[in-house]
Amino acid sequence: MPKSEGRRNFAKAIVAIAAVLSIVPFVPWGTYLSSSVSSTGAYKRQKVVVDDNPQYGAAAGQTVNVNDLTTFPPDSHWVVTYPTSGSLTQDTQNPDTFVKYELIRLPAGSPFNGDTKDAVAFVAFSKVCVHLWCSPNYNPAQGHEQYECPCHGSIYEIPDGLAKGGPASQQPPPTNAIPMMTLTADPDGTLNIEPPVWDVNHNGVLGYGRYYTSYESYIKPEAEGSA
């Protein structure tokens, strides 16, 4: 190869490398797409307030207290909104299931101990099924006591939110467990949602799933600083 041709090829290679280097810095810009209009509000610690829906009777619009076994009896369920818009009416009317969570007070007695006056008596599951984004409901009936999706029959067990039946259970991890919130109780019994970490190793990704871990990891024994 003549020397001049080698120089020419070298110059071409420089241009090619320069072109690649000029494109590379834009690759991380792709994360522009990973934000969300739903999450413009900051994720703060929030008191758990039941949506003001008449079907919830005495619990409608109430702040959940773990000591109140009358208004919030075991083996019951309500829908809560997180993050709140600040207005209970607006939250209740918001149909976006990506801000909705099913708050379940577990059945009383062993093994779930839903009559415990503590945050461990509660779980909060995402209202978005990881199969096809439908909206599951808790079924309190004896022998069921599970989180069931009406669309294609995915079934999540309590209290861990792992799919044990239906199409969601056939999906590979992390798409086989429903995202869930971390709950804590104040000394006066007020139940709180802790700021979630939206990834598959923590609270999960809504409409996608999380790596299954036992629900104890979502319960903090006491709110920090309250001891």
Partner: protein
């Protein structure tokens, strides 16, 4: 006298002068490369189905732009689920002519997908995709895929139950992609319904149409047939179909109270594949991807110099097989077990053993029938004598009589359209307007025909 007349340049009136001044000026632009040919006589539209697809794309652009004025993907204080549906309902029910525009847009979207598919198969069977047209073919396949995705992103924006199903399946397919699943879902659909609707809206009204416009430059051949009579008739037919088969609003999507729905017909085959309940990603993305890949490589496999479908028995049979299999799969997609006592999932199940054996059966039958049909026509082939050219069918007098009748029918149809609108018969009005356009197509064709007659 006659000699001096022929020597003179043709006399141009003011309008003609202006027209030529503009077209001469345009010769200095990129449009010089696109030589539209206005055929002097009727030619088969099969050869320019691509141009007709492009015309329908223009109809979609015009009506879509108009719909954007009242469509609200999301608003502060208005949940996205409610906003999208209620704004479409408003366009449908109270905006003047909104119903007509929406129906034209919907029918045109179906027509564009259908015309693109027909265009592809005509090019395939006529062998035009081969030999130096490989790049046009490949960009065409990509164009077709983007057309389907564009149509998909459009019907999701309504947020009715059918849109909900499409959103759910689309997002779950993205979720199911290996390794990048979660990130891909987040990038394309976002983290909720508000995100989703804004993203798909941006994609539907800007990103995909821009890609399609760019693809026009890479896909349109240098010489196009622009036949005004046929274009007018096709657009008119579109209006007529939209008037005869108006699309409803459907039921508003609600994640908590789902109903069983079926996607639009061009996605029903994928729906059937998913319902075999094998791996979601394999059935929903890899299988259609395989078909697209096959379409892309076909000009590099079918490299013979033979063009006619009669001379390429294997590839003709392959094309017939693909049509038959798509039709059968689509039919599966439309079938839901009517026994409501069964659980939803079993009602939706497309039994895999039955489905895949039917696919093998369809392939065998298609090949067998194609080969025997080709054998049959080869055995009967004989030299065709050129048909004697037909004399003029109509005389000048009759042309003018039909002209007058058509103009009168246009006047009458215009009146009927106005009357129908005032009575609230919107589909009747749309039908009438379509008929006006078809009548214009016939007039334009008759004008062209009359140019061949002695005046």
């Amino acid at each position: 006298m006659a000699q001096t007349q022929t020597a003179q340049p043709p006399k141009r009136n003011l309008i003609s002068k202006l027209y030529h001044w503009i077209t001469d000026g345009l010769q200095r632009t990129v449009y010089m490369g696109i030589q539209y040919t206005f055929p002097k006589r009727f030619v088969s539209p099969l050869g320019y189905l691509g141009v007709l697809t492009g015309i329908v794309f223009l109809v979609l652009g015009v009506t879509g732009g108009a719909l954007m004025i009242y469509y609200q993907p999301t608003l502060s204080g208005c949940g996205s689920l409610t906003c999208a549906f209620s704004s479409v309902a408003r366009i449908n029910n109270s905006v003047p002519f909104g119903w007509l525009l929406r129906n034209i847009h919907y029918t045109a979207s179906n027509a564009m997908v259908l015309l693109a598919v027909l265009h592809m198969y005509y090019q395939y069977f006529s062998g035009r995709f081969k030999i130096k047209n490989e790049v046009l073919w490949v960009t065409g396949v990509i164009f077709g895929v983007i057309t389907a995705v564009e149509a998909y992103s459009g019907y999701d924006l309504i947020f009715n139950q059918r849109a909900g199903l499409a959103i759910e399946i689309g997002s779950s397919l993205a979720n199911a992609s290996p390794v990048i699943g979660g990130a891909l879902r987040l990038a394309t659909f976002g983290a909720g319904f508000s995100d989703f609707i804004l993203r798909l809206y941006a994609a539907h009204v800007f990103i995909f149409p821009m890609i399609m416009l760019l693809l026009v430059f890479l896909h349109f051949p240098r010489y196009l047939v622009f036949d005004l009579p046929v274009v007018s008739a096709v657009v008119g037919a579109l209006f007529i179909v939209a008037g005869l088969f108006p699309v409803g609003l459907g039921v508003q999507y609600s994640p908590s109270s789902p109903t069983l729905t079926i996607p639009e017909w061009y996605l029903t085959a994928i729906y059937a594949l998913l319902r075999t309940e094998f791996d979601k990603f394999v059935m929903g993305a890899l299988m259609p991807g395989l078909l697209i890949l096959m379409a892309i490589v076909i000009p590099f496999v079918d490299t013979s110099k033979k063009l006619s479908w009669k001379d390429r028995p294997f590839f003709t049979a392959l094309g017939i097989t693909s049509i038959a299999e798509i039709l059968v799969t689509t039919a599966w997609g439309f079938y839901i077990n009517p026994n409501t006592s069964l659980p939803t999932l079993s009602r939706l199940l497309v039994p895999p053993s039955l489905y895949f054996s039917s696919m093998i059966g369809v392939a065998a039958v298609s090949f067998l029938l194609t080969y025997s049909f080709l054998h049959y026509i080869k055995s009967r082939e004989r030299v065709r004598t050129a048909a004697a050219p037909l004399g003029p069918i109509l005389t000048r007098k009759w042309v003018f009589v039909i002209f007058i009748l058509l103009i009168l029918s246009q006047v009458a149809l215009n009146g009927l359209a106005v009357a129908a609108m005032s009575q609230g018969l919107r589909n009747m009005a749309l039908f009438d307007v379509g008929a006006v356009l078809v009548a214009f197509g016939i007039i334009a064709h008759l004008y062209r025909f009359s140019q061949t007659l002695p005046f």
